[in-house]
């Protein structure tokens, strides 16, 4: 046998290739955010920059548990999930720089874009609203008897919204194939979870809806994968909604401008020690599921891809207003040009 005695059976039915692919997405997410941070510092990002540092593990692993045809709705910190579902780094870069070539042609910000064919639905800013919408997408799967599953991410903070409540309850009573992932990262902007809700374990929120709730270590990539996979399979089997609380930590501020003064330094440091990517890499290495050369190869690939993506986006033209009035409706196809902008009026 080629593998050493240290090689353990890979859990959760994953193959070696899949483990490597997960590593690729983790690295891609983190590195893409690093590139974005550079561009932000250069003043090339329009508006705010959001980071998922420390949360890439749960984002990537949960999305990885979905199959083709399944649809997820990401949050601002789910860049990783979108990449898994096929969003391209160049698209993300173009979005952040408001380029004409971006998926929304400069109409929307950052990772607010979608591709339902690939399987991700773009969010709006209003927290909680995507839960009912995803309940409806999952409802359409049930109504058409398609073996597809929906997955929606919400933050600890967003669990306080009325839309979250109405959406989860609706989904639960309609038994639609939906997985609700609560990313418990300790803060909603500056608000610690203890000020958001009086429960300790956000998984307990599932009790209000008569659905199973489970708390998972969000920085344990394989545990997240396994738990999500199980919830996805339940949903696909017609057993309805599952709520997963993934416990993790937001290591950077709400957005790049946030000085995080409300996050104790030691707390941040402690979570640095639990970095999900390092932990996963160690696990891969310790179990001999990958070797150093393998890691280096992936890292290089990521680096090259991102070099290309930055080059392919940075100098693109900003969106020009010639199309800006189109597609408010399908019909009429464009909004009126107002009189003070028309030469003839």
């Amino acid at each position: 046998m080629a593998t050493t005695a240290k090689t353990r059976v890979i859990p959760a039915g994953l193959s070696r290739e899949q483990l490597h692919e997960i590593y690729y997405y983790l690295r891609l997410t983190r590195s893409l955010e690093e590139r974005l941070r550079n561009l932000y510092r250069q003043g090339k990002v329009i508006g705010g920059l959001y980071s998922s540092l420390g949360q890439e593990g749960e984002s990537v692993a949960s999305a990885y548990a979905l199959a083709e045809g399944d649809i997820l709705s990401p949050l601002i910190r789910n860049l990783g999930a979108m990449l898994v579902k096929g969003a391209k780094p160049v698209e993300v870069l173009r979005q952040y720089m408001a380029k004409a070539t971006s998926p929304t042609a400069g109409r929307e910000m950052n990772i607010h874009f979608n591709d339902l064919r690939l399987g991700f639905l773009g969010q709006i800013s209003h927290l909680g609203d995507m839960v009912p919408v995803m309940a409806g997408i999952a409802l359409s799967f049930r109504l058409r008897r398609e073996p597809r599953v929906g997955l929606v991410y919400v933050g600890d903070g967003a669990t306080s919204t009325g839309a979250f409540h109405e959406g989860v309850n609706f989904a639960a009573v309609q038994r639609v194939p939906l997985v609700v992932i609560v990313e418990h990262n300790g803060y909603a902007y500056s608000t610690p979870t203890s000020r958001q809700t009086a429960v300790e374990r956000l998984a307990d929120k599932a009790r209000a809806y008569g659905i199973p709730g489970r708390t998972v270590d969000g920085n344990d990539v394989l545990a997240v994968y396994e738990a999500t996979k199980h919830a996805v399979e339940r949903a696909r089997a017609g057993e309805g909604v599952t709520l997963l609380e993934l416990v993790t930590y937001r290591r950077r501020g709400h957005a790049e401008h946030d000085d995080q003064r409300y996050q104790p330094r030691e707390e941040i440091a402690a979570w640095e020690g639990r970095d999900p990517i390092e932990r996963y890499t160690r696990q891969l290495r310790d179990n001999a599921w990958i070797d150093d050369a393998g890691i280096a190869a992936i890292d290089d690939r990521v680096s090259e891809e991102l070099d290309r993506a930055v080059a392919d986006s940075e100098n693109d033209p900003v969106a020009a207003p010639d199309t800006v009035l189109r597609s408010v409706y399908l019909d009429p196809p464009a909004a009126d040009v107002l009189w003070f902008r028309r030469r003839d009026a």
């Binding site: 597609s327 408010v328 009189w339």
Partner: protein
């Protein structure tokens, strides 16, 4: 030709579309076993089964949001608000998520949100609203408000087929009060965006819609008889997008315009219509555009109070006379 009420016409429209197109389904509170608070969907559950007639929890935001999600996937949901007053609970979902979906994300959201609207039924402040102005202001939504049985049917069918989100304000005062002969085999489709000439006239144009069309017609008859003036009554039918052409051509014909709506004065749609006439037909005006609306209060419950706050036929007559005399 069978005589059909406004409510029955609406029912028929939905039934026909549900028969025609499997992707149409309906969801809302008490619409299944009970057939809806006003029995608009009576019998639908038996006919189409529980996966196309879905009783939901009391969750207007979720009803609209779920409809939007299903619509993205190619279905054509009709979401019923038990009373349209409760659409306010879905205001965020409609104005921020639904209305912008095509613009920001290229998503088709062919949903219809409909419900019993309007006053004159002693429903008090929360069962009498006509919240058209709350949504009129949001690009991306379409708004329709039929006045006749024919249009109740024609507009619901058109709304269901429309590829954009449509809010359909059905007037509960009209449900069983008006009847019309509707041919059975005929496919009735009222084009969205087109007004209807409800009465031709030469001396004054009344622009109105929904239940007020009937009061305007009554007023026009009275003025014709007593004042020998001919009022033209334009029934807008679609509020957004608005049929500017019809409004302007009638304005240019009669040179006097009265806008009549059941909503409060301040911020009601009459303001926008006045502005458009002002912009496009100012030179044709022989008198200021004026409006007959509800007073600027919530809608009170006692018949005497409601009748005072909401516009009545006599108000339209009085306003028309003053405008004619201008």
């Amino acid at each position: 030709m069978p005589e059909v009420t406004y409510l029955e016409a609406l029912r028929q429209g939905m039934l026909e579309e549900m028969e025609r197109d499997e992707s149409v389904f309906i969801l809302g509170e008490d619409i299944g076993a009970y057939g809806g608070a006003f029995k608009v969907t009576d019998g639908f559950l038996d006919r189409f089964g529980p996966s196309r007639v879905i009783d939901t929890p009391i969750s207007e935001a979720a009803i609209v949001g779920a409809a939007a999600g299903a619509a993205h996937m190619g279905l054509r949901p009709i979401a019923e608000m038990q009373f349209i007053d409760f659409i306010s609970c879905a205001y965020d979902m409609l104005t921020n998520y639904v209305a912008t979906a095509r613009y920001r994300a290229g998503l088709a959201t062919p949903i219809v949100v409909r419900g019993p609207s309007g006053g004159y039924v002693r429903g008090g402040p929360f069962h009498s609203q006509m919240p058209e102005a709350a949504f009129f202001h949001t690009p991306g939504l379409k708004l329709v408000a039929p006045a006749t049985a024919r249009d109740a049917k024609g507009l619901i069918k058109a709304a269901i087929r429309d590829d954009d989100p449509v809010i359909y304000f059905e007037h509960k005062f009209l449900y069983r009060r008006i009847k019309e002969d509707l041919p059975e085999g005929e496919e009735i489709l009222t084009p969205i965006g087109k007004a209807r000439m409800a009465r031709e006239g030469t001396d004054l144009t009344i622009v109105t819609w929904s239940a007020l069309v009937w009061k305007a017609l009554e007023a026009a008859e009275q003025v014709a008889k007593e004042d020998r003036a001919e009022i033209e009554v334009l029934d807008l039918r679609t509020l957004l997008p608005m049929d500017d052409e019809a409004i302007m051509s009638s304005t240019k014909k009669t040179n006097r315009v009265l806008i009549v709506h059941e909503d409060t004065r301040t911020g009601g749609l009459a303001g926008e219509i006045t502005a458009r006439i002002n912009e496009s037909a100012f030179e044709w005006l022989d008198a200021p555009v004026r409006r007959v609306t509800a007073h600027d209060t919530p809608i009170p419950y006692a018949p005497t109070l409601e009748d005072y706050v909401l516009p009545q036929t006599a108000d339209i007559v009085s306003a028309a006379r003053r405008l004619l005399a201008y």
